[in-house]
Amino acid sequence: MSLVKKQSDDLWYMPAILSGMRFTFKTMLKNLFTRPDPKDKLAHRTYNYPEEKYEYSPRFKGNHILTVKKDGSLRCTACMLCATYCPASCIKIIASESDDKAVEKFPISYEINILRCVFCGFCEEACPVDAIRMGPEWQTPGLAAENFDYDIKKLAYRAQLEGGIPSRVDDVERHEAGI
């Protein structure tokens, strides 16, 4: 049995298409005959990309961020739960023993192959210590020679992050509380 039904002849889809077209033409005419209002960006819906960029909400799941501790070092404990959970198998972590006994295990290399990533957010969900998040940046284009294996430098300390985003889970505080 085929699951694809033959399309019937009735025109039930037309009202939706027409209302969409109405919106498109309305916006087009408005953009042609009015000037952009700098105060209300949304009023004028066409952007001069790439000079003007649309800011997504902070909840948008774009490029990954590795968070940092208070002292600026990586929060990641190299538990590899994100790598285990990742459906695209695009996270590669090499763990090592830290000299600091309180840290014990940390990643000497953390790479995400951003071209394989499907931006599902499972890594963020798997992480027990809020070490990986997905941020509002979404521009990932690059030239052919660009390295699409994002490393720790890019994931945690790229210029846009201004020195690193602090993690919400703090071991030091837990230890001080005797937990």
């Binding site: 538990c79 285990t84 459906p87 763990a95 023993e97 509380a177 005797g178």
Partner: protein, 503 residues
């Protein structure tokens, strides 16, 4: 035989069986930490509680002998409740370390809590007793006292099996900690066994620590070729190579244990220590076809040929290469290179033997059957010498001296799995051909006591490499079929995806 009833299942067990063993024989799950079949009974974890008919209170199964007509169950509500709260006691001071703990994934605290425990708060935000972390116990083992459940298995191991008594439990109550005595680190040659029997991640092996998450590794049964005992092991591996060995119970050969030296044998099978391709004189790479052409020329043009073998190959390979030399090449010059001469009878009383070749017995048997076999010290120079080098180089002390002797021959063909840097500088070494290690081939090894053990292909690290049987066939221009062992998919897939949502 005694008849008994375990969770309403009628079974017969031999006299003198402990009740906990009867549960295992009846395929019934029973929570336990401190009981280990090879060690004495401690009865300290109190998890193996059962209800015995006619007995008013719960009793521990590990310290109870089965008697005729006994009926025991751990399925009653009161037992389930007892085990649940027992487990909670074990967890109450346990740190939230699973993400950095090497045991996670094969941890009995995780497994048994999921099976027998109550639900727990994943924040684990109660106050805990703080203990020492990352304690260096000795050259192989690291201790984390906070994770320890004080089952005392490790302490009993050092007092009953190795009889070295390095470990003890110090202090009392919730401040009890496992530790070593001052100036007496845990440095015996069996110390990593404590890591295996530790049900939690309190003891971890320095060699394996943080190298891999255990759920990324597959395993397959094989043997250890570290010495002529031939302990049974499980080799753990993934697509990058081998990562560790763990002993497999075989009462006739190794019991429950293996030695620390043997655990390092996997290193000789990994890429870093391997001859990966075919090499001509001075290490010039060449193709397999070219290499065989050169080898055939060297052998057919030679008036005298000789073969040197070590006790590190399988019986099948000895059979084929020795027959090839004797029958096809009509050479009777076959020499046994014993890499640890004069140490055949050394034995440390537990497992490890002085003869570091796993198959000396097998080689000697085949040589004597054919009426061949001289010691390598009798080797004189020939036109073409074929040397089958040792697989595991760590114990070969006389390598330099032997190589000097080998290159007195005009042409040397070196067959070996291990990387030997010196060979690249030697002008007389005309060819190096990579061999498979024992984890990459099927064959039989005969241990010191004459027990034959079969090994099968686990996983190939070097696809170019050959078993000696293949080499002999290719030298005679015959076709060979090679088994590659466990294969990994070319396209990367995340096999954990399929199990999502299950515990």
């Amino acid at each position: 035989m005694l008849k008994c009833k375990i969770n309403d299942k009628e079974i017969e067990v031999p006299e003198g069986t402990k009740l906990i063993e009867a549960f295992k024989l009846a395929d019934q799950d029973i929570a336990h930490y401190c009981y280990h079949s090879a060690l004495s009974v401690a009865g300290c974890c109190r998890l193996c509680m059962v209800d015995i008919e006619g007995n008013p209170r719960p009793q521990i199964a590990c310290n109870t002998m089965v008697s005729e007509g006994m009926s025991a169950t751990n399925q009653s509500d009161s037992i389930k409740e007892t085990v649940k709260w027992g487990l909670d006691f074990h967890l109450i001071n346990h740190p939230l370390d699973c993400p950095v703990c090497d045991q996670a994934g094969e941890c009995e605290l995780q497994n048994q809590y999921m099976k027998f425990g109550s639900g727990y708060d994943s924040e684990m935000a109660e106050k805990k007793v703080k203990k020492n972390k990352v304690v260096d116990l000795g050259k192989e083992v690291v201790l984390d006292s906070e994770r320890c459940v004080l089952c005392s298995r490790c302490v009993r191991f050092t007092s009953e099996i190795t009889r070295t008594n390095e470990l003890g439990i110090f202090n009392r109550g919730d401040r009890s900690e496992v530790g070593t005595f001052k100036g007496k680190p845990l440095n015996n040659n069996y110390s990593v066994n404590t890591v295996d029997i530790c049900p939690v991640g309190a003891l971890t092996s320095k060699d394996f620590r943080f190298n891999q998450r255990v759920w990324y590794l597959k395993n397959k049964k094989s043997i250890c070729t570290g010495c002529s005992t031939g302990c049974n092991v499980k080799a753990y591996f993934n697509e990058d190579g081998y990562f560790r060995f763990k002993p497999v119970v075989n009462q006739e050969i190794n019991g429950y244990w293996m030695c620390d030296e043997g655990r390092k044998v996997y290193k000789s099978t990994n890429k870093e220590n391997r001859l990966m391709g075919y090499e001509l004189q001075y290490g010039d790479a060449c193709s397999k076809e070219e290499a065989f052409k050169v080898a055939q020329d060297l052998i057919s043009s030679a008036v005298t040929t000789a073969l040197v073998v070590t006790g590190q190959q399988s019986n099948e390979e000895y059979e084929s290469i020795i027959s090839y030399f004797k029958e096809t090449l009509n050479s009777e010059q076959i020499y046994h290179w014993h890499t640890t001469p004069g140490k055949e009878d050394e034995f440390d009383g537990l497992l490890m033997r002085g003869d570091k070749n796993p198959n000396t017995k097998g080689l000697q048997k085949i040589l004597s059957e054919k009426g061949l076999g001289k010691d390598v010290s009798e080797l004189s120079s020939v036109d073409t010498l074929v040397v089958v080098g040792p697989e595991n180089m760590t114990h070969v002390k006389d390598l330099k001296a032997q190589l000097e002797k080998f290159i007195q021959s005009q042409n040397v063909i070196w067959l070996g799995s291990a990387l030997v840097e010196e060979l690249k500088e030697m002008a007389h070494v005309k060819l190096q051909m990579p061999l498979r290690t024992y984890l990459e081939k099927t064959g039989t090894f005969t241990n010191h006591a004459g027990q034959d053990q079969k090994v099968t292909v686990v996983k190939t690290v070097n696809k170019q490499a050959l078993a000696l049987t293949d080499w002999v066939q290719l030298m005679q221009n015959q076709e060979v079929q090679q088994d590659q062992g466990v294969k990994f998919p070319k396209v990367k897939t995340n096999f954990f995806m399929d199990d999502r949502g299950t515990v």
